[in-house]
């Protein structure tokens, strides 16, 4: 038995054991046992995935007896292995975090039994080797995550609503995937990925396009792309925080995985417009997501919208890769795809970290509202420091990891010109502009989240009394922060795995994105290099020199603490601070036409005189335009249809018999 097989088997066994332990063990031991078993399970899968990547050989296994009719096919190739690595790298710290979180969050038997199953499904989906296997694991993942979203439903009614939305959206997505893959398998004459891969490129173009679009819709709904993202800002804030970390950090990635796997592996790539569609979807998601993240003052909602944004960036990379591949630019395609895949890893690291940070804040203060937080830097130093690393990384600032993938993405886009195709020439400047605007707004968003949520003065008593969470939770956050720094400084380690992962994709095979030479990252085929390590070292040296100079000129080192300068005001309170809402107000005003905020200002005057104001009430809210513009009318229409259906179906047995008669008559007439 190979290492990969042993690792996967161990993961499955440990996962099931953890689920059993969750049900069976007494309350005190439960969290520990489940946490340790889950972490070990993730490690097992990590070993398996690394073995596949290092050996550069896919691991396949057929287990005909596990499922009736079709059996289970496991096929872990380097592309899938990369996603398993991402899932495992996030799952280990999350499992550790979960041990500490159990003291504050849901702690029931069912909850502890479902968490390992969810993690197991996340680890196994990229290893699925046939349509049935994929669909079964996908459904396991969907059901498990729905249950976890609902975990807190007793405490918050919003969780029930979120769970409902999530269940509906995810199953509509499943239906799309199901139809797409079944059609695909039907035309290809087999359901294992090997058969699909062999036949996919030779199917008629209409079938291929239909399968691709269905897969895009189905996997896109899981990835949270606009306009299928509506469940995301509802479900992620309500789920327990480490579950949100798994959902945002890992599960949405699997949507991207599905699009890449079906579109550019099984179908073998397609015409130019596939790339353009994915690119457009990515661009819209990135901008829409970041704009809503910018104006959210609920920390977890902000992070959820930022997930939509980051998925958008990944899809820009995937779409650009498809576009370049269709034009025959393999090198550029490989760089764009590598950028997208590297961003998958980076996003998993920092988004999980940020959600864990948000969870720590939530347990310490009981609120996610940035307008009521603040001052945590002094009361929760570890959480603040790790959250700061995550925030700076997601804002794509060097020398952290978000910058590396953004740089790669920009390089691939920029080197597309001069090109002979007008589509490329129009799409690329727009894509660069979108990436740039998204990056700028993301920086503003996370300055807001960090600056108003963690720095400044406490805006409420709860924030004042906060303290860092338990050791297990701290360890998890520090580990992820370390991951962000490591992936930022040494991205060259990822060169080979990315090369092997992109080589799986037919149209991109044999192309190499970048190589590490020394500490610097050198693009292959085009001129471009960047050394994150040099940036980090340079910054440290510069800072040391500056400190040395300060010492040399005899600057005083002691600092006097003094009251903040408030223009001589006699009283200065935290209520005078800029809040998260006020921080985002100028940008919200600039993008008024897109965000369409609801503003409501009531001024009531004193009864004696109109010149004396009694009270001013200002309300302000921003609703998701897609939600209010598309889904609410749709829901109303469905509701209306339901009412009509109720009239038809009133329970009278005679009427039902009459319907049957009409049906029979219709069949007779039609089939005549």
């Amino acid at each position: 038995m190979t290492t990969a097989g042993a690792g996967l088997l161990a993961a499955c066994v440990l996962g099931l054991a953890a689920a059993v332990a969750g049900v069976g063990l007494p309350r005190r031991a439960r969290a520990w046992a489940v946490g340790v078993a889950t972490a070990l399970m993730a490690l097992g899968a990590l070993v398996a995935a690394l073995a596949v990547i290092i050996g550069d050989r896919a691991f396949t296994a057929r287990l005909p007896s596990v499922l009736p009719l079709s059996g289970v096919t496991i096929a872990l190739d380097p592309l899938g292995a990369l996603f398993v690595v991402v899932a495992a790298v996030v799952a280990v710290p999350v499992a550790v975090y979960g041990v500490g979180y159990a003291l504050h969050g849901p702690d029931g038997r069912a909850f502890h039994a479902v968490v390992p199953l969810f993690v197991l499904s996340l680890l196994l989906v990229p290893a699925a080797g046939s349509v049935t296997t994929l669909l079964v694991l996908w459904e396991l993942m969907a059901v498990a995550s729905t249950l976890l979203v609902l975990a807190d439903h007793r405490r918050s009614p919003a969780a029930r609503d979120a769970g409902q939305w999530y269940a509906v959206m995810t199953h509509l997505g499943l239906v799309a995937i199901l139809i797409g893959l079944v059609v695909f398998a039907g035309h290809a004459g087999g359901e294992s990925f090997a058969v699909l891969r062999a036949r996919g490129p030779h199917l008629s173009s209409s079938v291929r396009s239909a399968v691709f679009l269905l897969a895009l819709v189905g996997f896109g709904s899981k990835a949270g792309v606009v306009p299928l993202h509506v469940w995301l800002p509802k479900a992620h804030p309500e789920a327990p925080s480490h579950i949100s970390a798994l959902m945002s950090g890992v599960m949405v990635n699997l949507g991207v995985y599905g699009i890449v796997r079906v579109g550019w592996d099984l179908l073998g790539g397609g015409p130019r417009w596939w790339g353009v569609v994915v690119l457009a979807v990515g661009a819209v998601s990135a901008l829409f997501g970041v704009l809503h993240a910018l104006v959210s003052s609920d920390l977890k909602r902000l992070l959820a919208y930022s997930t939509t944004e980051n998925v958008g960036l990944m899809l820009i990379g995937v779409g650009a890769a498809g576009l370049f591949a269709a034009d025959g630019h393999r090198t550029l395609a490989a760089i764009a795809m590598a950028a997208a895949l590297l961003h998958v890893l980076n996003h998993a690291l920092f988004k999980a970290l940020l959600f864990l940070g948000a969870g720590s804040v939530l347990t310490a203060t009981g609120t996610r509202d940035l307008d009521r937080l603040g001052g945590l830097a002094r009361s929760m130093p570890v959480t603040t420091a790790t959250f700061a690393v995550g925030a700076l990384a997601i804002a794509a600032l060097p020398p952290l990891n978000g910058f590396v993938s953004e740089w790669l993405l920009l390089q691939s886009l920029v080197h597309s010109l001069p090109s002979t195709s007008a589509t490329v020439a129009v799409a690329m400047p727009v894509a660069v502009a979108v990436v740039a605007l998204t990056g700028g707004l993301a920086a503003a968003t996370f300055v807001k989240a960090l600056g108003t949520g963690f720095l400044a003065r406490a805006r409420s008593e709860e924030a004042e009394a906060a303290h860092d969470p338990t050791v297990a939770m701290q360890v998890a956050m520090v580990a992820l922060a370390g991951g962000c720094v490591a992936a930022g400084v040494a991205p060259t380690v990822a060169a080979v795995p990315l090369e092997r992962a992109t080589a799986v994709l037919g149209p991109l095979s044999t192309a190499v994105a970048f190589r590490g030479s020394g500490s610097s990252l050198r693009l292959n085929g085009i001129s471009g290099s960047m050394s994150p390590a040099a940036i980090a070292v340079g910054l440290v040296i510069a800072a040391c020199v500056v400190l040395g100079m300060l010492r040399a000129v005899g600057s005083p080192r002691a600092r006097r603490r003094a009251e903040a300068w408030g223009c001589g005001r006699t009283v200065q309170t935290a209520r005078m601070e800029y809040t998260a809402t006020s921080f985002a107000e100028p940008l919200q005003r600039v993008f008024d036409d897109v965000l369409r905020p609801d503003l409501d200002l009531d001024v009531s005057h004193a009864s004696e005189s109109r010149y004396h104001i009694d009270a001013v009430r200002y309300r302000h809210g921003i609703r998701d335009a897609v939600d209010t513009g598309i889904y609410q009318p749709l829901l109303r229409a469905v509701g209306g249809w339901g009412r009509w259906a109720r009239r038809v179906q009133n329970g009278s047995i005679h009427r039902y018999l009459a319907y049957a008669l009409v049906a029979v008559l219709t069949v007779l007439v039609v089939a005549r």
Partner: protein, 315 residues
């Protein structure tokens, strides 16, 4: 005899650091002269810094470690940029950093650090400044990256050394349509990023109109000196980038000491001329309302977009 690459990098940092306060002195002097005043000596900003380094440090009572670290980050990032951009020599002193995208993001690090420090003390004005600064930075970002895009198309690389070398090899490119459009776009961005009129008034005393100044209202003594030095160096770096990208003549392509010395002089002269021009321009314009700034940035964005488009279609 040749000058080593590390020596060139160190030289660039020294030149930028040394000339930054002088450039501020020059802009103030030009402004004073145009206003009919005599103005302070060009070296006055250096005197101000020398004094500030010896003064007391004050930290607001609710501020965290971010407040103390931010000035260091500002100066470090801009120093690193100064070492990496081919101001004096195209021999790419720090190859891993001398990429236009990297430079743009490194400068953003300084902005973000200062914005966080503005929020940190928990005052109204600090938050206001941070909010405005990030608004402008976010809206300027598309222009920056598209201008980078336009410049990197002819050179087939976003490496600064390559762009400069390409322009040196084909000087007529410097007056091509795309280059002029990119120059115009870049000029607007420089004004916005350096916090000059008409986007921000560095000499304002009214807190409500402040952007950059509002963020640093709390800094005193050596911390303030670092913030001001960082801002001045940023201006030199931005103007130097403009000079290197659009008028790279004089930049050394070999490591001979004479050429390097000449290149240093050329750099100082170019930045001085650009600084004086900026100060002269500032006399003629008034500060824009904050909500008119997006219009200016949209215009610069369009110029940059046109530069990219034109570089493709007229090529």
């Amino acid at each position: 005899m040749t000058v080593g690459d590390d020596a060139v990098a160190a030289l660039q940092v020294l030149v930028v650091t040394g000339s930054a306060p002088l450039l501020v002195g020059v802009t103030r002097k030009v402004r004073a002269l145009l206003e009919g005043r005599a103005g302070a000596s060009v070296a006055q900003p250096w005197r101000d810094l020398r004094k500030l380094f010896g003064k007391e440090r004050i930290v607001p009572e609710h501020a965290s470690w971010v407040f103390g670290v931010a000035p260091l980050v500002v100066v470090s990032t801009v120093s690193l940029v100064a070492a990496a951009v081919p101001f004096v020599s195209t021999r790419a002193p720090l190859a891993g950093v001398g990429d236009l995208f990297t430079v743009a993001y490194l400068l953003l690090v300084g902005t973000v650090a200062l914005a966080l420090a503005g929020l940190d003390p928990g005052t109204a004005f600090g938050g206001m400044g941070a909010s405005r600064e990030m608004t402008i930075a976010a809206l300027a970002e598309p222009t920056v990256l598209l201008a980078v895009f336009a410049l990197s198309v002819p050179a087939r690389s976003s490496s600064l050394a390559r762009i400069v070398a390409a322009t040196l090899a084909a000087p007529h490119r410097a007056v091509s349509v795309e280059s002029l459009l990119a120059f115009a776009a870049f000029a607007v961005v420089v004004v916005a990023e350096a916090g000059r009129l008409p986007v921000d008034n560095p000499a304002t005393h009214l807190e409500l109109t402040m952007v950059h100044e509002a963020m640093v209202l709390e800094y005193a003594g050596p911390d303030l000196a670092l913030v001001e030095l960082g801002a001045a160096m940023r201006l030199v770096v931005l103007l130097g980038l403009m000079a290197s990208l659009f008028a790279p003549w004089g930049i050394a392509t070999t490591a001979r000491p004479a050429q390097v010395a000449l290149a240093t002089l050329a750099f100082v002269a170019k930045v001085g001329v650009l600084g004086a021009a900026l100060a002269g321009f500032e006399v003629f314009v008034a500060k824009l309302r904050l909500f008119r700034v997006p219009e200016l940035l949209a215009a610069s964005f369009v110029l940059a977009l046109l530069a990219v488009t034109v570089s493709f279609f007229l090529a």
